[in-house]
């Protein structure tokens, strides 16, 4: 088929693998990707776990069109192994600290905006500008968080192409009263609780999921995962057939989080398939 000359084909054959990455590239980029998935969310969920036995497993719960990743892993982004020299000791938890408050002493934050081109509707994809935040801590690999929950990036703040060079615009998270202890993630209990509600729903016990989310709302009044709990509750209400209440809560959800990545799923949660 190719009408290339033999010499051209020879050059191509010789150079075909010249651009292949190595494993360290795959690890490094994967870690950065996970950081960006986490850092871009309005309520980044990063928790420090301890269950080494769970290493390598990933539990991802889809909430509507968005995906709530609850990754129980060795905290190596996308479970791709240990950090490379380029991103040694990258700690999502440390990134969270930097995200919430003034840069901690052990955090180097290089927030920048990277653009993904907006694509015309006739084209197969349409990307939106996404911010990137790189937060690298000096924590050794052994201190990497072992579980993380990353919300989908549907609510990323966007910038126009002309503002690509601007610094990333992050929706601020509630201020922390004091410099957090890097060994204690304040989101961990709330994340674990949400996970419990999600498990209940997925296990076919929507009543328990509703009960759990209500209890968690009271427990974590100023928590970061209210949106996720509300979504789970809407889905659970639909599952038990309480469409009236589900729609009521869905409307409240839409009012409170009109740009939520879960919006369409919540809106259509009780629709008949």
């Amino acid at each position: 088929m190719s009408n290339l000359s033999s010499e051209a084909r020879r050059v191509i054959a010789l150079a075909r693998h010249a651009d292949d990455p190595n494993f360290a590239d795959q690890q490094r980029v994967g870690q950065g990707l996970m950081r960006r998935l986490g850092a871009g969310a309005t309520a980044m969920l990063v928790s420090v776990g301890t269950a080494k036995a769970a290493a390598g497993t990933v539990v991802a719960t889809t909430l509507g069109k968005s995906v709530l990743f609850v990754a129980v892993s060795t905290a190596v982004a996308l479970s791709l192994g240990q950090p490379s020299s380029h991103a040694a000791g990258t700690s999502l938890n440390a990134g969270q600290v930097a995200y919430q408050s003034a840069p901690a002493a052990n955090v180097v934050s290089q927030a920048k905006t990277s653009a993904v081109q907006e694509i015309t509707p006739s084209e197969p994809i349409a990307a939106k500008t996404v911010p990137e935040s790189r937060k690298v801590s000096s924590s050794p690999a052994s201190e990497l968080p072992q579980s993380m929950a990353v919300k989908e990036v549907g609510e990323l703040p966007t910038v126009t192409p002309s503002r690509r060079a601007a610094t990333a615009q992050f929706e601020p998270l509630p201020e922390v009263a004091a410099a957090p202890d890097p060994n204690i993630d304040p989101l961990q209990p709330e994340t674990a609780a949400l996970r419990e509600a999600q498990r209940a729903l997925r296990a076919g016990d929507p009543a328990a999921a509703i009960s759990l989310t209500k209890r968690q709302d009271a427990q974590f009044q100023a928590g970061a995962l209210g949106q996720e709990r509300a979504a789970v509750r809407v889905f659970a209400l639909c599952a038990i057939g309480n469409a009236v209440q589900a729609r009521k809560e869905a409307n409240e959800f839409i009012r409170r989080w009109p740009r939520s990545p879960m919006l369409s799923r919540v809106r259509s949660a009780c629709d008949v398939p």
Binding site: V11, A15, D19, V29, V116, V130, V232
Partner: protein, 204 residues
């Protein structure tokens, strides 16, 4: 041999529904970005490079591709194979990065210089030859129009079929074929020009 990609790898799990027969509102599918990443990282990386994304921003560009995959998967809707869809994203991200960084020429120079330096180091003759070929390849690719380069890279280097390349590039088959033909002619001509230069060592 090029990495074999699944034609349309399953993006969603077959995890059983949370409630039998009833609608839970919670989808059972799990968009597994991790699996996609593992399967497609290499292809995304090398093709971004082939398309001229600067090494300095290559990590970011690769991540952007997967962020788009993650965000837009709901719109993918299997209108094409996952492979062509992802390569379509690669083409757009590469174009955007080239435009944004305006370093593609510099990248080629740096790459060429690095290869030149490496070539001076003693090593297996085959490795030296491969590096030289890579330097030539990148130099020629850099001179192609991006639209032709994209088709050429997908077909000649990534070994996609013409139809797959057309889908990835959002082109008609005829247009894709025309661009490929044009790119091949340009590539061949560049190779011929290059061969008259003394430092291109031909294998016996």
């Amino acid at each position: 041999m090029a990495t074999q990609y699944p034609m349309d790898m399953a993006l969603v799990s077959t995890e059983p529904s949370a409630s039998s027969g009833g609608r839970t509102g919670l989808p059972t599918e799990i968009a597994n970005l991790r699996e996609i990443y593992v399967d497609y990282f290499q292809g995304v990386w090398r093709n971004l490079r082939r398309l001229g994304v600067a090494d300095a921003v290559l990590d970011d560009a690769v991540q952007d591709v997967f962020l788009v995959v993650h965000r837009r998967y709901a719109e993918f809707a299997r209108r094409s194979t996952l492979k062509t869809w992802i390569f379509g994203i690669v083409l757009h991200v590469a174009k955007d990065y080239r435009r944004a960084t305006r370093r593609h020429a510099a990248r080629t120079e740096r790459y060429a210089q690095a290869v030149e330096n490496d070539s001076n180091v003693h090593g297996p003759a085959e490795e030296v030859e491969r590096r030289e070929a890579a330097r030539i390849l990148h130099g020629i690719l850099e001179k192609l129009r991006y639209e032709e380069r994209a088709v050429f890279v997908l077909v000649e280097l990534e070994e996609l079929s013409l139809r797959e390349a057309a889908t990835a590039c959002s082109l008609s088959l005829a247009t894709c074929q025309r661009r490929l033909r044009s790119a091949r002619i340009a590539f061949d001509a560049a190779i011929k020009r290059h061969n008259v230069q003394p430092h291109w060592r031909r294998s016996p």
